[in-house]
């Protein structure tokens, strides 16, 4: 298949999905009695400067979350536990950084490593349960989500510092905070420094999966576990390592916000990034470029929808429906495109004329 053909087939699915989602969203809004036109006018309007900053920041965190999920997906492992993993990791990192055992940026670096370790550990539990006891990681990660969230809630309530009505971990010292970049005015906010993490993670992911032996083993296991085993891959080891890697990246999800804005773990903690990440991973077909576009799209929708509550009667939650429909539509579209591609290739294969054959089918050396 030519390059143009390939690009076209790659883009058709997302395009169809987005259009379908737009149509369905409009229908739902209209049925409920509001104005679809109003909705699109607001959502598709040019973002304010402040919004640009927020979108980039949000997209970064969504990107990390999606990457974490994607590592698992490439291996047919469904790590639905990103939510719990990044929550526990964020709490641990905030606690550590707030305690200020180490100075300045060293504090930040070690806290990041700690976050990765904690996230990896939490995900690793599910991985180990799967290889030793055959427990489906879908259910175990979901259970671990709930357990993790409750655990953090308990720890925060019992040991956290009191400020007003809320509790939080000790605030991080000024030297360990990252100021970020301010592209517009001061009041429009700063882009998190740790956006770099996302870039590094994305590049690392791509190199690892496509260029290394380990990556090949991982993808092979995702394609066909039986073939991978026969080729020498130790699938059980791969499952555990994959979950650890996935959890490690998940641990980093909220780090940009922690060091760039919140400076402690408390009411400012953002929930839900784990689930959005899973959706975006599916959207981006588990590839860094696709995930990046998906993350930007979702961040854009979320940011723009903030204005809905201020300027219309339409609830912000409609965007969740849009996002859900995009995901469903896109996976359907991907499947259709995939089947089409295989059928097309089959046609291509059989259409080669007999004359090309080196050894004619009939003749047999005797």
């Amino acid at each position: 298949m030519s390059i143009v053909n390939r690009v076209a087939t790659a883009l058709i699915a997302p395009l169809v999905a987005v259009v379908a989602a737009m149509v369905i969203t409009s229908v739902v809004i209209t049925v409920v009695g509001d104005s679809a036109l109003e909705f699109w006018q607001i959502v598709l309007s040019a973002p304010a400067d402040r919004a640009y900053v927020n979108i980039v920041n949000q997209a970064t965190m969504i990107f990390l979350s999606a990457l974490a999920a994607a590592i698992g997906f490439r291996m047919n492992l469904f790590n639905i536990g990103v939510e719990g993993q990044y929550t526990i990791a964020a709490y641990s990192a905030a606690l550590f950084a707030g305690a200020a055992f180490l100075p300045g940026l060293l504090n930040v670096a070690v806290a990041l490593l700690l976050a990765m370790a904690v996230g990896a550990f939490w995900a690793g539990i599910a991985g180990v349960l799967r290889v030793t006891r055959g427990v489906s990681e879908v259910i175990s990660t979901i259970m671990l989500n709930a357990i993790g969230l409750t655990l953090v809630g308990y720890l925060l309530n019992t040991y956290g510092q009191q400020t007003g009505n809320a509790r939080r971990t000790p605030v991080i010292e000024v030297e360990s905070r990252l100021p970020g970049w301010t592209p517009f005015l001061e009041r429009d906010g700063a882009v998190f420094n740790l956006v770099i993490l996302a870039v590094l993670a994305g590049v690392g992911y791509s190199l690892l999966l496509n260029r290394t032996r380990f990556g090949f083993d991982l993808r092979a296991t995702g394609f066909s576990e039986s073939a991978a085993t026969a080729s020498g891959v130790n699938v059980r080891k791969m499952v555990v390592i994959s979950m650890l890697l996935s959890g490690a990246i998940a641990g980093l999800v909220w780090m940009p916000a922690l060091f760039g804005q919140a400076h402690s773990f408390g009411t400012s903690f953002q929930v839900g990034l784990g689930f959005i990440g899973i959706a975006v991973a599916l959207l981006g077909r588990n590839r860094p470029l696709g995930i990046m576009f998906g993350a930007l799209l979702f961040a854009f929708l979320n940011e723009q929808s903030n204005r809905l509550t201020l300027e219309t009667d339409i609830s912000q939650d409609i965007v969740q429906i849009t996002q859900g429909v995009i995901v469903l539509a896109i996976v359907v579209a991907y499947e259709v495109v995939r089947r089409y591609r295989v059928a097309a290739e089959r046609r291509n294969v059989s259409s080669r004329p007999e004359g090309d054959a080196k050894t004619p089918e009939e003749s047999v050396p005797v």
């Binding site: 006891r133 879908v138 259910i139 308990y154 599916l282 965007v319 859900g324 996976v331």
Partner: protein, 419 residues
Amino acid sequence: MSLRTPERSGQGSAARALNILPLWLLIVVGALLAVSAVRVLTGTPEMNSRGTLSAAILATCPILMAAIGGLWSERAGVVNIGLEGQMILGTWGAAYFTYYYGPWVGILGAALLGAVGGALHALATVTFGVDHIVSGVAVNIIGLGGAKFLASAYFENLDGGGANQLTGLDSPTRFTVPGVSDVASDIAARGWFVISDLAAVVAALTTNMSLMTIAVFALVAATAWVLWKTPFGLRLRSCGENPQAAESLGVNVIRYKWIAVVTSGAFAGIGGGFLALVASSGFVNGQTGGRGFIGLAAMIFGNWRPGGILTGAFLFGYTDSLPLVQNSEQTVHALLLLLAAGLIGLALWNLRKGLKVSAAVLGAAGAGFLLLFLVTDRVPRDFTSMTPYVATLLVLAFASQRLRMPAADGQIYRKGSAG
């Protein structure tokens, strides 16, 4: 040919009786004795008082409906993790329709909304061949967002309503069996070994019992009958065991899978409806709290059979109702002892079967919980709310290996793949 020697025939009539009784009966009796013993030893009557059991039954039903929903789908070969989303849609449906038409139409509405969720899943997986888990994840997102949006769109201006809730709804009628209820409750409160425990069960079943609960159990029985005793059920199950074989015999596999998955969604929806109307006072955002997933776990625990599912759902439902029980911190603490006893019992049984590694792991876990029990005297409130999730994990971790799911479960099916 040697005759049986006197020593052997003196094996003891008790031991021989043990060999005759069916296994499940032995387990039930054993469990009853164990629970009763622990209750008396630790002095925690709330463990299985009438009130606790009533609450447990209420908590069981939504999980049970989700689990049965999962059963319908997986028996036809489609994995449905979208049960949570379908349940959420059911809670909204129940609230909306009950507000305008009363609780029974409300439940139908819940089933309808859940079925819509099921249809989305069926469309993606059965018609388009998308991976079942991926589709389930998408359905969950849509269900969650959908219910939230519809709630804020429709409930804000209603009586008892707001952007995130709709309370004060009518519930289905409750009834109490006169006489039996009073006597049983009385005996239950006495605290006698085993007798009071049994009485508590009777009391819970006859006091303030919702008609909806009866309906739920009737649905379970109906499911068992339909799936295993009718031609329709046979065909549906064959789609989950070997769809190619079914197709070769003229079964329209696609149609049966569709029916199964939509039904699955409907059941999850009913579970949500029960949650909103009977177990709670109405619709509240986020009230499902993962019960759809716990239902899935109950289905796996039940080895994809209605009897096992009942047991699993009750187990999880019981742990789910614990945080609401009076004196929950002590009760959960007492349960640690029960858990330790159970694990050690399992360990001994495994040892008898010669499975040494299993026995060692179970024994270690049992010892660990025993230690925990002895060292602490209460379990903090936050942890009690974790119990259903921890229970799910533990059960799956220890029981996953002996299970047998439908042979073609999760398989992407394409027509014409026969032969």
